[in-house]
């Protein structure tokens, strides 16, 4: 069974149909990169996967559970599906440690106090920011904030991580440190779905590339193949425009 099964998903915002019948499966351990022009529905699709957006048709299954079914405990599901946002969305009134441990403690994964702090230290080590454990988000650079946001996800030990243009709000010189963390996660076998404009990452790290166009999966396949031999003029155009 695939970890994520998306079949014939439709989604409209008012009159505008942003997703027009999406089919996509993601196996455990896969790193799927979604590319496409802005407005092609990439971010919306990602947000549908953890139930942040409702869908108007079709279905999405994560670990065999229907995301948009009334009987699904979305909260429980989200404990295992992490998402990292373009704007970091750290909690500005909490220290890095508390940002990280808030959810694990409140959801009963871990006890307050030493155990929680140990967890914070462990996941911060994974993103190389142990020394910032007591800092506030406002004291960190954009790249550091995004790494903390990734650590905050990791603290919930997710089996799937979603990345929504996580480097798009960063200064160019800070992009590398975040991509590095994501590459590390990829080598550790984390299942990841990313929406990104980082073509090098899509080419070199991803195991599957998905090109979205006009609310549909226009092409999908191995990154090397798609980059070398785009089957459609839309993808060819897109590749040449982002080079």
């Amino acid at each position: 069974m695939a970890l994520v099964e998306i079949s014939n998903v439709h989604k409209s915002f008012g009159e505008v149909e942003v997703l027009r019948g999406i089919d996509l499966t993601v196996e455990k351990g896969e790193i799927v990169t979604i590319i496409g022009r802005s407005g092609s529905g990439k971010s919306t699709l990602l947000r549908c996967i953890n139930g942040l957006e409702q869908i108007n048709g079709g279905e999405i299954k994560v670990a065999g559970e229907l995301v948009h079914s009334r009987s699904t405990d979305l909260r429980k599901l989200r404990e295992h599906v992490g998402i990292v946002f373009q704007q970091f969305n750290l909690f500005p009134h909490m220290t890095v440690a508390r940002n990280i441990t808030l959810a694990p403690v409140l959801t009963g994964k871990i006890a307050k106090g030493d155990a929680a702090r140990e967890l914070a230290r462990k996941v911060l080590a994974q993103v190389g920011l142990e020394e910032k454990i007591d800092a506030y988000p406002g004291q960190l650079s954009g790249g550091q904030q995004q790494r903390v946001a990734i650590a905050r996800c990791l603290a919930m030990s997710p089996y799937l991580m979603l990345f929504d243009e996580v480097t798009s709000a960063l200064d160019p010189e800070l992009v590398g440190e975040v991509l590095k963390v994501m590459e590390d996660l990829a080598t550790q076998g984390m299942t990841m779905i990313l929406v990104t404009h980082e073509m090098n990452f899509a080419r070199n790290v991803a195991s599957k590339l998905v090109f979205m166009h006009a609310g549909m999966v226009h092409e999908e396949g191995r990154p090397a193949d798609l980059f070398a031999n785009p089957a459609t003029p839309e993808l060819a155009n897109f590749i040449s425009s982002v080079r």
Binding site: N50, L52, R75, K76, R78, E79, V81, G82, I83, F85, Q87, N89, L90, F91, P92, H93, L102, A103, L106, T107, R152, C153, M156
Partner: protein, 216 residues
């Protein structure tokens, strides 16, 4: 007739306790209601939103004096029992506080970016946990200057309770004025005491506002 003496002033000072009582009552009962209204206004349920918004608009559109009269004369009529002035006056200020603080806190809650709530929900927090740990602390910081500012309004507005004969600071001033035929001096004292109560709060509210703006 007698002259205005220090004991008149002391009587006024003593009446401050009733002004304070009204303020404390209004906050103790009004603040939880305000929180409820603010939550309803910003919640998911359409009906709750409509009801809460309706209440806020209604109460804000009625002068405090109107509320006072309504509760003072209305409670015996509608409840069929005679209630002490403190209860009816307290109820009026409770409703007043609920509506205005509710509006201030609604604004504070809505000023916290939607994405903060999303991020919390995505980490598996319940809606209450999200409000309690993520939204409320940030909203509170944003709304604190206006909340303290409202406190000043509340203190001054309790003077309206004198109209129905409730003896608080303003009413004590009236009584002193009537007894001494020194209205100017009496009311000057009343004004000075109100100012002494409110001015520090105004300063505090200002400094909170500066801090908030500086932090952005």
């Amino acid at each position: 007739m007698r002259g205005f003496t220090i004991s008149d002033f002391l009587t006024m000072l003593a009446a401050v306790q009733w002004t304070a009582t009204l303020v404390v009552l209004a906050l103790a009962f009004g603040a939880p209601l305000a929180l409820l209204l603010a939550r309803m206004c910003t919640g998911r349920s359409r009906i709750a939103r409509l009801v809460a918004t309706g209440i806020l608009q209604l109460v804000q559109g009625v002068p405090v004096l109107g509320l006072l009269m309504f509760f003072y004369f209305g409670m015996p009529v509608f409840l069929g029992i005679k209630v002490p002035a403190l209860v009816s006056v307290g109820a009026a200020f409770t409703i007043f506080t609920a509506a205005f603080l509710g509006e201030i806190w609604r604004g504070g809650i809505q000023a916290v970016h939607v994405a903060q709530g999303e991020a919390a929900a995505c980490l598996g927090l319940t809606r209450w946990q999200t409000f309690r740990h993520v939204i409320a602390p940030q909203a509170f910081r944003i709304a604190l200057p206006a909340t303290v500012g409202f406190l000043v309004q509340l203190i001054k507005n309790t003077s309206l309770a004198s109209v129905v004969g409730f003896v608080e600071l303003a009413r004590a001033g009236q009584l002193a004025s009537a007894a001494t035929f020194q209205p100017l001096l009496s009311y000057a004292c009343v004004a000075a005491i109100y100012f002494a109560l409110c001015f520090p709060l105004t300063l505090w509210s200002r400094s909170l506002e500066d801090k908030l703006n500086g932090a952005r």
